[in-house]
């Protein structure tokens, strides 16, 4: 049998009129990252709160590290770390005090708790800020402190609820590094996100949820095959050269695909894009564009947005479903 560190079956939870979880099954293999992808209100946070024992489901069962979440929540709490969507650090306490408090609540001795706090602060680049109250921290520093707080007890299973929402791209990459390091040192990570790019960068497997239901469970590659892989988008500086750009893109298109003008709602007109299969397409396009002397103001490879993923998986767009 597979070594599943998180196993949930048929989770249901209703808040008033909202069916937050409508029969969710989850499975995460030990030592891997499971990405739970979905829009706001899909039930991601509710699922994490159930698994981290903060919330009892109305129906269903869940096991974390082999322990029954409903029957032995206190034992589950010993092996999990949770970082919520909103950094739940204590603003009046310093970085050190925040972490030492967690250590003492985990029954470490005062000295061990202090040592662990210093170690984590150094690791998260907060050593210098360690003696300042957390209310003086920037958003990114708070996030890091919050994540450090969830790692004090060397958890086997780490739950990260939208760990990078609201962070700038550089800080996001830092957070990704933290997640990879945790996995490298033996932890299993379940993270929720609204970005396919993030799930693709970190997860071994991705679960897509919508309206409290799992609508897909696949590897990142498998999911990308289903929703279409990368898209190459080019925006010429001179709009009159757009037809030439379309020709260039057609030449590097994935089999059976053609380049189109970007006319999707919300996107700025004046660019063209094409589905491609590999990074070679990018190099090919660059060579051809420079040979033709076409100046560009944008040239990028994109993964499909969450909207596009949903469109493909459900045949409807997210915005339509909200109506």
């Amino acid at each position: 049998m597979e070594d599943l560190v998180v196993r949930a079956e048929g989770l249901r939870k209703r808040f008033g009129k909202t069916q937050a979880l409508d029969g969710v099954d989850l499975a995460m293999r030990r030592g891997t990252v499971l990405g739970v992808l979905g829009p706001n209100g899909a039930g991601k946070t509710t699922a994490v709160r159930v698994l981290a024992t903060l919330l009892r489901p109305d129906e269903g069962s869940a096991f974390v590290a082999g322990i029954d979440v409903l029957k032995r929540p206190q034992d589950v709490r010993r092996v999990v770390g949770l970082t919520g969507q909103y950094a739940s650090v204590d603003e009046d306490l310093t970085g050190v005090q925040n972490l030492v408090l967690i250590g003492r609540l985990l029954d470490m001795t005062g000295r061990d708790a202090r040592q662990r706090a210093d170690e984590l602060l150094a690791w998260f680049d907060l050593a210098e800020a360690g003696q300042r109250p957390a209310k003086t921290y920037s958003g990114g520093m708070r996030r890091r402190l919050d994540l450090a707080a969830s790692l004090v007890g060397h958890p086997e299973v780490i739950f990260l609820d939208e760990p990078t929402t609201g962070l700038d791209p550089a800080k996001r990459e830092d957070m990704w590094g933290v997640v990879r390091n945790q996995v490298a040192s033996g932890a299993s990570v379940l993270l929720t996100t609204q970005y396919l790019e993030e799930a693709d960068a970190l997860a071994d497997e991705i679960v897509v949820v919508n309206h409290g239901k799992v609508i897909a469970h696949d590897t990142p590659d498998g999911l990308k095959r289903r929703v279409g892989g990368q898209t190459l988008r080019v925006r010429p500086a001179d709009q009159s050269r757009l037809p030439e750009v379309l020709q260039v893109l057609d030449a590097v298109a994935a089999p059976g695909m053609t380049a189109v003008r970007d006319e999707a709602a919300g996107s700025r007109p004046g660019a063209a894009s094409v589905p491609v299969t590999g990074d070679a397409a990018l190099a090919g396009a660059i060579t051809q564009l420079s040979r033709s002397g076409i100046e560009v103001t944008e040239l990028a490879l994109h993964l499909p947005s969450l909207d596009e993923v949903f469109h493909t998986l459900t045949g409807r767009t997210k915005t339509e479903e909200l109506v």
Partner: protein
């Protein structure tokens, strides 16, 4: 951040929880003490949050002694101060507990308690810890009122031991009474609402009592309320311990009230906390 480059070996994961040293103290007390320390740090860091147990009771004491004292006690302000101060001590203790419910409500709103709930500690430890830390506020009320009262001319007429007993009783009552505030803090939607609800309770209890005037001067229906008001025996006991007079009856009644408050409001507060996800 240098996270990608350096991975200290200390961060390796144990497949079992780290060894826990055997401690004699029960987990609830140990965890509550750690959480009480957290509340104390917050108190020290925001001294302005102590206004309700320092400047406010002093202003009340000045106001009632010099503005109303002459009229109430036929011009004998010293006699009125001797009568008033023990009562105002009780009032300030009841009011001092209001902030606790407000703070807990704010903590829950901010998500700090989510972290505690995800840790393997007793569900009640965060509440018990916060209540324990409130001892410092009740002690502050006692010290401030007795010191400032002494400057105004108040004199303890009994002795050191009864005076210490009065302070101990005050703090003890404060610790029991504040569970009402904790309960309201768990139920109310905002910390402003906690204050509103608590003052709706505390004002009639403290003014409709023997704090400011002797209950013989009151109309019959109000005397009936004063007689069943828990603040009345508390004031009687503190008065007896500080300026003399009978103590035993009021003291027993107060202790009974304290036990009653704990029996009713601790379970209510814990249940409301458990429900509030």
């Amino acid at each position: 951040m240098s996270t990608q480059t350096a991975t200290p070996p200390a961060l390796t994961h144990h497949s079992v929880a780290p060894d826990r040293p055997k401690r004699s103290m029960p987990a609830l007390i140990r965890h509550s003490a750690a959480l009480a320390q957290r509340s104390l740090i917050k108190t020290i860091r925001t001294p302005e949050a102590l206004i309700d147990v320092t400047i406010q009771p002093v202003i009340f004491l000045l106001l009632f002694t010099y503005l109303f004292g002459g009229a109430i006690a036929d011009g004998d302000r010293h006699a009125y101060l001797q009568f008033l101060l023990p009562g105002m001590l009780a009032q300030s203790l009841a009011m001092g507990g209001v902030a606790l419910g407000q703070n807990l409500n704010a903590d829950i709103e901010k998500g700090v308690f989510d972290r505690f709930r995800s840790l393997p500690i007793s569900r009640s430890a965060p509440l018990v810890g916060a209540v324990l830390a409130d001892v410092i506020r009740y002690l502050t009320v006692c010290v401030v009122m007795l010191s400032f009262g002494t400057i105004m001319g108040f004199r303890v007429e009994t002795g050191v031991v009864p005076a210490i007993a009065a302070v101990a009783l005050s703090i003890g009552f404060g610790l029991c009474f504040c569970w009402i505030s904790v309960w309201v803090g768990m139920l109310a939607r905002t910390s402003g609402a906690v204050q509103g609800i608590m003052f709706l309770l505390v004002l009639p209890l403290t003014f409709g009592s023997n704090v400011f005037v002797s209950s013989e001067t009151l109309p019959g229906w109000l005397q009936a309320f004063v007689a069943v008001n828990p603040i009345t025996p508390l004031v009687g006991a503190i008065r007896g311990l500080l300026v003399g007079g009978p103590v035993a009856g009021d003291l027993l009644q107060t202790l009974a009230w304290m036990a009653g408050l704990l029996v009713v409001f601790v379970p209510l507060a814990l249940r409301a906390y458990a429900k509030r996800a």
